[in-house]
């Protein structure tokens, strides 16, 4: 910078030769140093940011599409390399090749004002890469990473601008993405602590047709809606405190009923229950089990057609009615049971089974219904999908699910409308 300034001061040289009096010249020199010298280039920088993108009106080059259209071939939803998401990241950004990203929204409701930030190695600050004014439900599109096109200005999280030279392309994983939005729905997604990976698996109905049934995109949309709601419920602070104090919860039920505690006093494991002796978990084990429900493992969502639903390993399944109407009114007992098999609990454990005096199935269902009552789930309105009307895509006969809270719901009795997750 010093060298620059020097050059500036030498330029007025021809002018001062015309000056007659030294005094004038001195004043001129002072003025010059003020005018030329102290101009602050930085403060005058006017960044030229990239325009925002309306994902509902993209040109063909972005290959915009809606995933899980009702009439889309089910082979798409069962393509586990193409359709997968983590429940805490329904808005998914994946690097594709050296210079593009694929953006997908696994949500039955769209988002507004979604900001995708990028982070490069060797530079700690995140900068705004894409700003989407609108992203429709189940939207997918592809976008050239602007860094690979030309030198651009980007808005930093700090509010300042950063200018980044063109970068020819990126090695796998060399650019990291993060997503922020003030959209209230997105804020609910951000609260989800589970990072379970969701996929659909056609192996079950291919190998055991009847016991399992094929799903279609209309049902997949319901399944995605439900798993996001369910993951939100599991992440809820009120659920965490009830889960980790299940002994207290059981005691409260007994007190309300005016009886002794029925069956197990607290969570217990898979060992057979003999004469009222249970393999109780310690406080530390219960804490760990809670987080197992929210860990990063993969769940394959499937649909059953026989006498019973199934879960275990990656599988968790339920009947069509559970997907179409059940979850909207909080009938989550079967799902909770099968998901608990998937987490590793057998019928001997009250984590999977209702068993003597109630277990997680009943507790989760009451809690889920209380969240619907509080309007405290990401998705509450069955009409966002209206699957119950889609007679071409469902086998059962359904009418619009209407939710009613049981006045004896233990969470309603205890919390009386309080406890919404803020």
């Amino acid at each position: 910078m010093h060298i620059y300034s020097f050059a500036r001061y030498l330029t007025p040289k021809p002018t001062y030769l015309l000056m007659r009096k030294n005094t004038h010249f001195f004043v001129f020199a002072l003025l010059a140093s003020i005018i030329f010298g102290c101009s602050d280039d930085g403060e005058n920088y006017t960044p030229n940011y990239l325009p925002t993108i309306d994902a509902s009106a993209l040109p063909a080059e972005n290959k915009p599409m809606t995933m899980f259209e009702d009439d889309e071939s089910p082979s798409k939803m069962y393509d586990k390399t193409d359709r997968w998401f983590r429940v805490n990241e329904p808005f998914q950004v994946i690097q594709k090749g050296k210079d593009s990203v694929q953006v997908s929204l696994y949500s039955p409701v769209g988002l507004t004002d979604v900001k995708v930030y990028a982070k490069l190695p060797n530079y700690d600050k995140k900068f705004l890469l894409f700003s989407f004014s609108k992203v429709p439900a189940f939207h997918r599109s592809f976008h050239k990473i602007p860094l690979t096109e030309q030198k651009n200005d980007y808005l930093l999280e700090t509010g300042n601008a950063v200018t980044i030279d063109k970068i020819e392309g990126f090695s796998s994983g060399a650019i990291e993405f993060s997503v922020e939005s003030e959209d209230p729905l997105f804020k609910m997604f951000k609260k989800i602590k589970s990072n379970h990976l969701v996929q659909f698996h056609d192996g079950y109905h291919i190998n055991e047709l009847g016991k399992f049934l094929p799903m279609n995109p209309a049902l997949a949309k319901e399944a995605i809606t439900m798993i996001i709601n369910y993951s939100y419920a599991l992440s809820h602070p009120l659920y965490y405190s009830t889960f980790t104090n299940f002994d207290k919860y059981k005691q409260e039920q007994a007190t309300t009923a005016g009886t002794a505690v029925n069956g197990a006093l607290n969570w217990h494991g898979n060992a057979d229950d003999v004469d009222g002796v249970y393999d109780y978990y310690s406080k530390e084990e219960i804490e760990k089990i809670y987080w197992n429900y929210l860990d990063k493992r993969t769940v394959y969502m499937a649909m059953v057609g026989g006498d019973s639903a199934w879960g275990g390993g990656n599988l968790a399944s339920q009947w069509e009615s559970g997907y179409v109407t059940g979850h909207w009114v909080g009938d989550m007992s079967v799902w909770s049971h099968e998901y608990s098999h998937h987490i590793g609990f057998s019928h001997s454990s009250n984590l999977a089974n209702s068993g003597e005096g109630g277990g997680q199935q009943g507790m989760l269902t009451d809690f889920y219904k209380y969240l619907i009552y509080l309007n405290d789930l990401p998705f509450l309105d069955p009409d966002i999908l209206k699957t119950y009307t889609k007679t071409a895509y469902v086998k059962g006969t359904y009418k619009k699910p209407t939710f009613k809270i049981d006045p004896k719901n233990p969470f309603l009795v205890k919390y009386k409308g309080e406890g919404k997750w803020n």
Binding site: S5, F6, N22, F36, Y45, N122, D165, E168
Partner: protein
């Protein structure tokens, strides 16, 4: 003001300049943009047996070294020499020749060039020493029997008068380069011994930087640092109890290769089944601060790396001995400026 009248134009010029400097620049400094650099690799070229005229052997690259614009590549049983700038193949060294003695080279692992000599390690328990200019044999250390001087040789680096030889398991033997002469015995005694904590029978990569020998401790899951002054001070005692390294323990990362250029530690690391090229600022690396400025497992999403058993750098080009993919990969390191503005 009175004083001003006595001044002449020629006196005022320096005053103006002084004023300019005094009044001008303090603000500019504070307001100047802050620049960072993003580094990224692109594929420049690769070398395999197609680049070696008349070669019918499968290309099996192991240790590499660059000296005086020549690239030395261990290729199975031979040492290949290339022009490091044009990548033209110059010659294949298949045997060690000294006077009437000819020893065919076999099972080579490693190469290092220093002070006019080429050092070549072989799992046949020998270190071959050649003249860098004539490629004539100077001496061999070890006679090829594993119970003698070395138990195999899996890595070698020569620098500043010392020769470090990684042999089987946890052992590095240190020779003084002056021990090796045209007339020296094959069965040289090391001046010091080092312990690599873990190790078995893999090719090892090691290099010297700013007073330390650094070993890519693939089995110890850490870079192993041996202070050279300390080696010299404790040389005699180390023959009984080999010197142990300083290190930062990694959990999942296995360092495979390390070499030092002007600015960087050029390393390769395996994490699970993925192989990474990583560049660390040399000074920070020497202080065991591992913040890579470049960390990639492929080039622009293509051609994932296999296990890189040796690295080298010449100007802005990085040479990688990718043993899995059976080629020498030549990578260009590109820079993009990240300039924070003061808007």
């Amino acid at each position: 003001m009175e004083l001003k009248y006595t001044l002449h134009m020629k006196h005022i010029l320096p005053l103006i300049l002084a004023l300019c400097l005094l009044t001008n620049c303090s603000k500019d400094d504070a307001a100047s943009t802050k620049d960072y650099t993003y580094y990224y690799p692109t594929d420049e070229a690769s070398i395999n047996n197609e680049n070696i005229l008349g070669s019918t052997e499968a290309f099996d690259p192991k240790g590499i070294a660059i000296a005086n614009e020549k690239l030395y590549v261990i290729n199975g049983n031979v040492l290949e020499v290339f022009n490091a700038l044009t990548l033209a193949h110059l010659k294949t060294i298949k045997e060690y020749k000294k006077g009437t003695t000819t020893i065919p080279l076999t099972s080579l692992t490693s190469v290092s060039v220093d002070n006019g000599r080429i050092y070549v390690g072989s799992t046949e328990s020998r270190l071959f020493v050649f003249d860098e200019t004539t490629n004539a044999g100077i001496s061999t250390v070890g006679n090829g029997q594993w119970w003698q001087t070395f138990v195999h040789v899996f890595g070698v680096v020569a620098k500043d008068g010392l020769v470090f030889v990684k042999e089987k398991e946890k052992s590095i033997k240190v020779l003084d380069a002056s021990q090796i002469t045209e007339t020296s015995d094959w069965n040289l005694k090391p001046i010091a011994k080092l312990n690599t904590l873990n190790g078995f029978t893999e090719v090892y990569s090691l290099d010297v930087v700013d007073g330390n020998l650094v070993v890519a401790g693939r089995d110890a899951k850490s870079y192993l640092y041996y202070n050279i002054a300390n080696i010299k001070a404790n040389a005699a005692a180390s023959l009984t109890t080999p010197i142990e390294p300083q290190k930062v323990q990694f959990v999942d990362i296995k360092p495979i290769a390390v070499s030092f250029s002007k600015d960087w530690a050029v390393t390769s690391e395996n994490v699970g089944s993925a192989s990474y090229l990583k560049l660390y600022p040399k000074d920070e690396f020497n202080k065991m601060n591992y913040k890579a400025v470049l960390s990639v497992s492929d080039i622009l999403g293509q051609n994932p790396f296999g296990t890189i058993v040796a690295t080298a750098q010449l100007d802005d080009r990085i040479f990688l001995s990718d043993n899995t993919n059976k080629k020498i990969r030549i990578i260009k390191v590109n820079k993009s400026v990240i300039a924070e503005q003061n808007n």
